[in-house]
Amino acid sequence: MTWLRGYAVLYLLFLYAPIILLPIFAFNDSTIIAFPLSGFTTQWFSEIPNTPALVKSVQTSVIIALTTAVLSTTLGICAARAGAKYTFPLKAPILGFIMLPLVLPEIIVAVSMLVVLLALGLPLGSWTVVLGHTLICTPFCIAILNSAFANLDPSLEEAAIDLGETRASTFRLITLPLVMPGIIAAMLISFTISLDEFIIAFFLTGTEPTLPVYLWGQLRFPQKIPVVMALGTILVVLSIILLILAEMARRRGLHRTGTQDSGGFL
């Protein structure tokens, strides 16, 4: 057991050491990223709002992430509902096929989308990034929403119809509230994925870089690196909060429908 404990510590260190370095250097009073630390400062954080290009890229990223979250969750709801409720020819292959972007290398997705968009003569911009992000986020949404819809007892909807409700009001009164935690979780996850996605954004963004693309560009200027680290710290904290919220929403959903936990992201 002792060697197992040691292994676990090493494992966690390997996973998280780089991320722990991020906040350490974000508060370090020096432009050189090296030990020993020279002093404590919040200067890098206060410099963030004074960098217009940075603020702009944050805005672009948030807009893209929000749009992606709404789009991919909507598509996910449709797919998960169809998969849980109906049987149709070639159901398994079709459902498998729409999950494919989950395992497809992002670079392949990015390059092929770029080729197609250029061939079609369409201009690159925020909306092309949204398109690419929706493509890779939808499978995640489907995976989350599948469990929400599959846990839904079909007789609940039948009971509502039996008690006089229409299909539409049944969806609103019964289905939606019961899968709502799944919907929230799907939106949070796709928002997070879109926000820090780099490869697709790098290829498909036009003249308005997203935050990760902007940060990558700043790495060439050593004096900017502490600001990047400060921003990275904020992003890491934000991501963790969002993921925790997503997981909480998912667990609440399980509790509501009274079903057993069968996995999840955390």
Binding site: D153, S155, L156, E158, I161, L163, G164, T257
Partner: protein, 358 residues
């Protein structure tokens, strides 16, 4: 009889699978009617077609005088108690029970609340309206489902195996309560069950279904005493089957001798030639000592026995019969339990025999 539910030659296909094969059925106002059969016999499909969750492929369904062909489930005068109870988990008990009243714009909030109170009182759940749905026991969920369905005063209440999720004690209690509730409200109940005992206890009439068809439709006593076929007899309770040979109205039964059967004892038609004779275990008895036989008697030996406390089941080997016959004896005070291998006399009454054509 005024039929509240009337089915004529109802057919249901799922692709090429023929789930209902021409069901014709009339159910009277105020009747407690059961659809009984093994899983896959079409009983649940039939219930769901009445509720409107499944379309009828062919045939007609009339509910309280109205053809249901174009009436969707939410407009039908039926309500259903689901096997899983389908209690809405995000709503409280009171909200669940009041759910069906949402569309009743003719009632104000006060009237609706009074109806909810009445419904909860009817099922013995007064004071539970604030309780969360997932904090209920199985029996309580069952009651909420009943109250929620009955608050709309449906013409017909449909119950899909409502007791199968309860334990034995709770089930016995709910059987009783359901029967009393049905008499109290006077609404037609249609119960789907695979439990023959449950059907016998609760129903006015029972339709036994096999393979999408009604095999027999009768009151519990007729169904038990005069099953129409060996398959029905085998499904309802325990019955001994003996090979026999019929000529005219005389039937020769190896092991029991010759017997004359009335037409009533041949509910599936008078057989001729090789046939099967059925007899229930409780209609036969063991004769102790020199006790005179109340009817006919023969000799046998105890092949096997099972002591149940209140009853003892004996398998008695009869000369000339391949399979031992099973009979049951109440364990009365002073009555001895026989031992394996012991010789005994057994007695039966020819009136208990039922003949089935092979």
């Amino acid at each position: 009889m005024t039929a509240i539910v009337s089915l004529k030659d109802v057919q249901k296909y799922y692709g090429t699978y023929h789930a209902l094969r021409g069901v014709t059925l009339d159910i009277a106002q105020g009747e407690f009617f059961s659809l009984l059969g093994p899983s896959g016999c079409g009983k649940t499909t039939l219930l769901r077609t009445i509720a409107g969750f499944e379309d009828i492929s062919e045939g007609t369904l009339i509910l309280s005088g109205q053809n249901m062909a174009d009436v969707p489930a939410n407009k039908r005068p039926t309500n259903m108690v689901f096997q899983s109870y389908a209690i809405f988990p995000h709503l409280s008990v009171g909200e669940n029970v009041a759910f069906g009243l949402r569309k009743r714009s003719d009632l104000n909030t006060k009237e609706k609340a009074a109806l909810v109170q009445d419904a909860l009182e009817m099922v013995g759940l007064v004071g539970f309206e604030k309780r969360a749905a997932h904090a209920l026991s199985g029996g309580q969920r069952q009651r909420v489902a009943l109250a929620r369905a009955l608050i709309l005063k449906p013409k017909v209440l449909l119950l899909d195996e409502p007791l199968s999720a309860l334990d034995k004690k709770m089930r016995d209690q709910m059987q009783n309560e359901l029967r009393q509730l049905q008499r109290h409200v006077g609404i037609t109940f249609i119960l789907v069950t695979h439990d023959q005992e449950e059907a016998l206890i609760m129903s006015d009439r029972i339709a036994v279904m096999f393979d999408g068809e009604i095999a027999q439709l009768a009151d519990p006593q007729t169904l038990y005493r005069r099953p129409i076929s060996r398959r029905v007899a085998d499904f309802i309770g325990v019955m001994n089957f003996l090979p026999a040979n019929a000529s005219g109205n005389k039937i020769d039964i190896p092991g029991l001798g010759a017997a004359t059967l009335t037409p009533e004892q041949c509910p599936g038609g008078t057989p001729s030639g090789p046939c099967t004779i059925g007899i229930r275990p409780e209609t036969m008895s063991i004769l102790f000592g020199t006790e005179p036989a109340p009817a006919r008697e023969t000799n046998g030996t105890v092949h096997e026995l099972a002591y149940y406390g209140d009853m003892t089941y004996y398998d008695i080997a009869l000369p000339g019969v391949e399979k031992p016959v099973t009979l049951s004896m109440k364990n009365l005070v002073g009555r001895r339990v026989l031992e394996r291998g012991e010789s005994t006399r057994i007695s039966w009454d020819d009136r208990a025999l039922v003949a089935f054509a092979d």
